[in-house]
């Protein structure tokens, strides 16, 4: 008993001496974490502060974080000075259609890869994965020419239609991984009951994949809401603009009155950035799961 107790004290002493450098590391870790948190968060707070400033307060040194008398009308000015309501509506239309197309087509294609055996399946799937690494610039010129010859310039179609044809390798990959984890016994049971493969897909696989489908939808939303190059190339009249090029249009438009231009610009930027940020707050767990599934297969 006594030897046991002595051993315990000894081991406690040993562990204490190990704990000490550990403690320093811990303190250092929290210090760095807090500095990093400030580094990532401060620009947001700063931008919110700036978006509410008066003209005079914008150009003072040292700058202020919290405006002395917030000018809330900066936010309504955004809609008065540019057709931002139209931009938001256009973006909502494009994003909704593209998200729907992306989820639907990715699920269909992923089901094909996950549940059927056919010659060349693995090779084709490698091609799907390879397109994930394909930089966008190699296809931009001919894609533009293609949509031009179809008469689709200055319409939303170039931004929407590819989504209906499995344009997102990431989504296909993610859903295929998920479908593979669903036991085949469920398919077989449904087939014995007389279900064809469409019914298996629609009534067995999809209802079990709500989380994965939501993950794909969320990533698709962010991707299409934030999309810049497509709208830049394909849209050219103001009433067709999405928010990302709308914001750029705003940047280039001179303001004649005495409105605090830079503050209003910050307000507009925050309006554009808000939907993805809000979505993240409500759906954090889907983000982490989605990234992890794709990343780990590298």
């Amino acid at each position: 008993m006594t030897t046991n107790a002595a051993q315990k004290t000894a081991s406690r002493q040993v562990s204490q001496s190990i704990v000490r450098p550990d403690l320093i590391w811990k303190l250092l870790a929290y210090l760095i974490a807090i500095i990093a948190a400030i580094f990532f968060a401060l620009p947001f707070f700063w931008t919110i502060g700036t978006s509410l400033k008066q003209q005079t307060e914008l150009y003072t040194f040292p700058p202020t974080f919290i405006p002395s008398s917030p000018r809330w009308t900066n936010y309504s000015e955004v809609f008065r000075l540019a057709p931002f309501g139209t931009f938001l509506l256009n973006t909502a239309i494009v994003t909704a259609a593209a998200v729907f197309g992306q989820v639907l087509s990715s699920a269909v294609v992923a089901f094909g890869f996950a549940r059927f055996r056919f010659p060349g399946r693995n090779a084709l799937f490698v091609v799907v994965l390879a397109t994930m690494m394909l930089p966008w610039h190699v296809t931009i010129v001919p894609s533009f020419l293609l949509f031009r010859s179809l008469g689709w310039l200055n319409t939303f179609l170039p931004l929407i239609v590819p989504s209906f044809f499995g344009a997102s390798a990431f989504s296909i990959f993610l859903l295929r991984q998920f479908f593979l984890s669903i036991p085949r016994d469920l398919d077989e049971a449904a087939k014995i009951d007389g279900a064809n493969s469409f019914q298996v897909f629609w009534q067995v696989i999809l209802p079990l994949s709500k989380v994965a489908l939501a993950t794909v939808a969320i990533f698709a939303f962010i991707e299409h809401w934030n999309e810049f190059i497509g709208p830049l190339i394909y849209l050219n009249s103001t009433e067709k603009f999405t928010v990302s090029i709308g914001l750029r249009y705003f940047l280039a438009t001179p303001i004649t009155g005495d409105e605090p231009r830079d503050a209003i610009l910050m307000a507009a930027s925050l309006i554009v950035a808000l939907p993805p940020l809000l979505l993240f707050f409500f759906a954090q767990k889907y983000f982490v799961q989605g990234i992890v599934t794709t990343g780990m297969k590298g």
């Binding site: 870790a29 620009p43 549940r115 209906f164 810049f228 990302s244």
Partner: protein, 310 residues
Amino acid sequence: MKAMARSRASGISPLRRREALEGYLWISPWIIGFTVFTLGPMLVSLYLSFTSYKIGANPTWIGLENYVEAFTRDKLFWPSLGRTLAYAVVLVALGVSLSLLAAILLNNIRGKSFFRALFYLPSLTPTVALAVIWAWLLQPEYGLVNFVLSWFGIQGPGWFTSRTWVIPGIILVSLWASIGGGRMIIFLAGLQGVPQEMYEAAEIDGAGQIAQFFHITIPLISPTILFNAIISIIGSFSVFSLAYIATEGGPNYGSWFYMLHLYHNAFSYFQMGYASALAWILFVIMMSLTLFQMWLSKRWVHYEYSEGGQ
């Protein structure tokens, strides 16, 4: 047995053939999309790169003329390529290592999900908003960054208004937007795959934190590092929107990246043939770099231990 033998003799059984047909049918949206929106355009782009093609006229075959033009006469080609390469090297080196450090940090503190969310937020900001916000943050006289630097007695540079500082400025913005993004989340998952016993064993052997980092953590997550490095290289070579919006390639072409050069040739000067050649040159460079990285990875990536990345 007989049936099996027969089906093997005839190649494929009717059942298997039906399954294969159905399979092709299900993946047909992707086959169509890939052909029409990816493979077709890539081949057309390769063809156009050997032509002189202004929109409205017909493409005329000029052989390697576009490539000769790029390599020998285009005054902006080499500077924009070199600038993009330098930017990519710095951004990938800093970005990948800082994301890894951030992931290790998160793994060692309480409140992990809170900090993770906070670090992740910048990566969700649309690039246009990012450019507008940071143009103001980096404003030399009234911006936050130079204000914070002044606390430490540092006279901040002109950032986007200075030819020397515009690229470091863009790197800073890119880092802010990418350190805590998908790359960090992937590292976090990779770290989860490192067996805790290995650290315990190393601790008993008296290995310190730094030795553990270099001899356990790094080798075990090396496949994840490779994946992130490849993805980041592709991303940083394609840098476009940030510079296009915040600096328009300036001042005095100081941030005229390769993609800006390509974009303006295609959509401002409508030199579709020349722009296609530019696209293929960059594509070949990126492919070679990726393959080189994969070849190099045989020397430093350890697949045998990893549980996560196969």
